[in-house]
């Protein structure tokens, strides 16, 4: 573990990404303390450009709402959507993949067909349908994103489990009489985790983007301020007021970038082959 942190910290990209993420999380957690009023409140004239009115460094939007307050409050929702939907996707994908890989045969085949089903239906389209069915709300959005993003997890985990299943230490567990669930949870999954973690860091980013795309199509949660909402809503007035969409856009960009950098960093840190040898 120490070793892991050391390698992680040696990767400048990963460190920068981690710092940005920590900052974003801090904003999400403590930001509402700095901006205690609702981000929906109309506080000033609409379309105030940034850096013109005191107290409104990023200007106001089409209804005269504070863009900065929106970004601060939006961090909470966007990150929440990203993290929770990723967790949920992992919660489905890991067991399905693990069981498919471990048991193989008919069960594995059935599980993979099931996965394939979710994979062949265009994911964005499926997300739209699901949100439309469940009616847009933070819960349904998270759910829809999770439902469309678990198949890659399942496939990845299955691949890992398939190769780990034949490892000698797994066989050793079998011959000492361990149960299936014990073998899956204690022997196999801990060793399959590193690629999953890397994938997960990318999924968080994808989820944030997916939420913004849903918002763009009018399928966001109308009661919660999110970056995706801001970008989508500001888009229509981009010609008059670039700042309404550019600032939240940058927030998304930076967060996604940070998560990707973390992913890369993790990838390098968790891959012993990559961090040991030179070329």
């Amino acid at each position: 573990m120490m070793n892991f942190w050391r390698t992680m910290l040696r990767n400048p990209g990963g460190v920068i990404g981690l710092m940005i993420l920590i900052l974003a999380v801090a904003v999400a957690v403590f930001g509402p303390l700095l901006f205690p009023t609702s981000p929906w409140r109309m506080v000033q004239r609409p379309f105030l450009p940034p850096f013109t009115a005191p107290g409104l460094p990023l200007g106001t939007d089409a209804l005269g709402r504070d863009v900065l307050a929106g970004i601060v409050h939006g961090a909470r929702v966007s990150l929440l959507v990203g993290l929770v939907s990723t967790m949920a996707a992992l919660a489905v994908g890991i067991p399905v993949g693990a069981m498919a890989g471990y048991f193989g045969g008919r069960i594995g085949d059935a599980l993979m067909r099931f996965t394939e089903f979710f994979q062949t239906v265009p994911s964005f389209a499926l997300a739209i349908v699901l949100v439309a069915i469940l009616q847009p709300s933070i819960v349904s959005i998270v759910l829809a994103i999770a439902i469309v993003s678990w198949p890659p997890v399942a496939r990845l985990v299955r691949g890992e489990v398939l190769s780990l299943r034949t490892r000698e230490y797994v066989q050793a567990a079998v011959v000492t009489g361990q149960s299936h669930s014990w073998i899956i949870w204690r022997e196999i999954l801990p060793n399959a985790l590193s690629p999953v973690i890397v994938l997960a860091s990318l999924m968080v980013a994808t989820a944030i983007l997916l939420e913004s795309s849903l918002s763009f199509l009018g399928l966001g949660d109308p009661n919660l301020m999110s970056w995706g909402y801001m970008v989508g809503a500001g888009r229509t007035v981009i010609r008059q007021a670039w700042w309404i969409t550019v600032f939240p856009g940058i927030a998304i960009l930076i967060s996604v970038l940070a998560l990707n950098l973390i992913g890369e960093g993790l990838n390098d840190a968790l891959n012993p082959r990559l961090n040991k040898e030179g070329r």
Partner: protein, 495 residues
Amino acid sequence: QEPKTGGVINAVIQPEPPGLMMGLVQNGPTQMVSGNIYEGLLRYSPKLEPLPGLAESWNVSEDGKTYTFKLRKGVTWHDGKPFTSADVVFSIEFLKQTHPRARSNFAQVDKIETPDDSTVIFNLKEPFGPFLGVFEVGSLPMIPKHLYEGTDFKTNPANNTPVGTGPFMFKEWQKGSFIRLVKNPNYYIKGKPNLDEIYWHVIPDAAARAVAFETGKVDVLPGGSVENFDVPRLSKLKNVCVTGAGWEFFSPHSWLWLNNRQGPTANKKFRQAVMYALDRNFAKDVIWNGLGNVATGPSGSSIKYYSSDVPKYDYDPAKAKALLKEAGYNGEKVRLLPLPYGETWQRWAEAVRQNLQDVGINVDMVATDVARWNQRTSEWDYDIAFTYVYQYGDPALGVGRTYVSSQILKGNPFNNVEGYSNPEIDKLFADGAVAFSDSARKPFYDKAQKILVDDVPVAWLLELQFPTITRCNVKNLITTAIGVNDGFRDAWLDK
């Protein structure tokens, strides 16, 4: 200025119409495109006076029960067959099966006589005040009998190649891209139409529509084609003309449905509080860019018998709070359904939510898509819901249906959805419809307006205006009360 002939107009259509057969499909885009292909018996001036259409002249009997129309001679369908009084009778039969508005408009018709090919006589059971206002192309498009008689209307292959009598003929429809109409060379008015072709472009994204106009790829943006925020910017461009005309007949009126049956909104005081809480001038100035008017009551100001002598509701949060207290409102959650018609409506809903929250109403916004919005409103599953409705020039056609108790019909999105029921109002609208002559009708409507505004069955917002944006060399585009929907018959291009 003398009209010039020739030229092509590129216009925008949004959303893409599901079909162009006006008798079967009544949605906005269909009417806009097909208004060039089909025609009605009458047209209406911006003051809503009848003008000749396929009917050359008309007269009404003293008792208001017999209407005689003389049809124009020498009119042919696009396929060359002559247009006759039999087509008129057939069209009414047809539309009574497929067109809910025509069904109620012609409910009073007892029988129709056609003494010759160019005369149609309607005999009514009782006088029907607004009868002369139901003959425009959207309410009564003429449908070719020779193509539809004895067929299953819905699956008739002719639906895909609509045939009318209008100035333009259907030529080509590339689904998802454009609809192409060409000049009808045999049009019965010599020298018309002036234009050679019209392209209706399907561009689903509002910003992209604005760009298409800006870059000169399209010349006409019918009302509602671009987001309101873009209107001032586009109108400032060189050689761009903007007009609010052409909506007099529809006079779209927006309001919030307030569910009169249950929840806090069942309380009149609460509803009045809502009226006081709304900053409608803000909505007009910021969200609609100063277009339109603040609505004073159930009737739009261009509708017949409009009365401004009604109680006033100015923006007054303090009064709203007081009324809420009187109503005994204790912070129950109130569901607000925005209209899923794009960013403008979304912003408006956000502003309204803020207004309501400011006076202490606990609002929960519920996002829907079009299908769901229609379903929830028509099944009364809401507390407050945005909407806007066409008024069709006459309170008996477009206003009363929202307030009379006979129109409380679950499952239909445009009637008395709020569930307001007041026998007095029922009677006033019933009497107003069958009275004959303006002076006889007016008192009923004056009174109805006063009562309604006090009761606040719905919270009226704005009389909307959907500006039509064109390049200035497109001339004479809008001449009647239904604007672009009446076709490009008179339009010409100044090259």
